[in-house]
Symmetry: D2
Subunit: 134 residues, 4 copies
């Protein structure tokens, strides 16, 4: 029941003309955390199929505090807030000593062969339950 | 009471390794529509101050259908769904014959001089009311 | 013997923290011009295979003048400066009344089936010769 | 006389629809290495002014081998190949066991106050000479 932790490197170009990390780039950083959780770690821990096709159905993000570029990475904590038959929800926080943003995403496993959404399999469910927080 | 219409050019690089327009890039396209509504049109119609500092407080987006790259632009309709004292909410649809995504953003006018949120002024309110849909 | 002309839309986010169009984004704009020349126009004019795999071997770019974001598109002129057996060179200028950058790219046709570089075919050569400038 | 070494994190989104790291993103990675060398390290070692305004005059890049996304960072080695009165040239290699690309950039110190190019000062010259390779 632990959160997944990813240290995301900011790029200088993530800043926009206002000299803050651009709001859209926050979602880019969340993508990196999600890729680490779904692909890199998921593959190692027996839920390989999560890396073969998961579609984003929805994002929500609340910007708490502006973020400025710095060479040190920022911490992204990710957890699972809901597991359904054919979808699941991730929660995220971008933070260091302070929280920069809170977000959530609804994800749908997708069969590339059949080109349509599919149900979660047992391995995936077990893997996701390890991050479940309610 | 008309929606703001912007025709957004897709870039080939908006596609990701799955050969669809990447989900984060949808928000990049919405940014372009918003910039057109706030900066370009806003300046012309007497609400100049909207281009001098508006902060994003929240985004929500529902992905309805995958979008593939094509040379023709995609249509983005934007409207105002709520006007408060010191914040307002935009609604959006990305579409052509079909809807690809629906989204909304909460925006907060920001004083660059005082480095803090500020109330909407009368010109801004009048401008935004022209796009109000409830 | 005409140059290919593409009108590239700048995105607000192409600016970096210095409030100029970021130098890397110039190459993103050139990619759009090249995609239009190779994919969109190439397909229409019988050189379809150019859109099925061309690899970049080299880029050179000289920055002549800083570019700031504006809603109006910028003009990109592209021509062919050299045609070899298995590679060709494009020249580009980004401009309106003034030139912002001059660039060139070496491109190599690539066989996706055989996963290796291949020679230009007759249709491709004929298509490229229409843009040849020496 | 040592090369500057930066370990650049690839982002999943650096891949394009061909499932390789997009050629333009190589220059984004070089930007990160340069920012580390000019801003982060430069500030620490007494050449602060390099972080206050350096303009890119030219890039050249040769793509040696396609790069695919992986969670491990890629190594970027940067050195100084030429120092002039008012410009200097960086050389780069992107590599791990194999070289993915070789590149060079011409940079021009820029006075933000006077809005024009300026000469290198002594601290900058000394700092850059530490990376000089001929």
């Amino acid at each position: 029941m632990a959160r997944h932790v990813y240290h995301a490197t900011l790029r200088w170009s993530d800043m926009d003309a206002y000299q803050h990390i651009n709001n859209v780039q926050y979602l880019r950083l969340l993508e990196e955390a999600r890729v680490d959780m779904m692909f890199t770690l998921g593959q190692r821990e027996g839920a390989k199929t999560l890396s073969e096709g998961v579609v984003i159905a929805r994002h929500e993000i609340d910007y708490v505090r502006p973020m400025v570029w710095r060479p040190e990475p920022v911490r992204i904590e990710t957890w699972v807030s809901k597991i359904g038959a054919a979808r699941f929800t991730l929660g995220y926080e971008i933070l260091d000593e302070t929280v920069y943003a809170r977000a959530s995403s609804v994800l749908v496993p997708y069969s590339l062969d059949e080109q349509r959404p599919r149900r979660l399999n047992e391995d995936e469910r077990r893997y996701l339950e390890g991050f479940l927080e309610s």
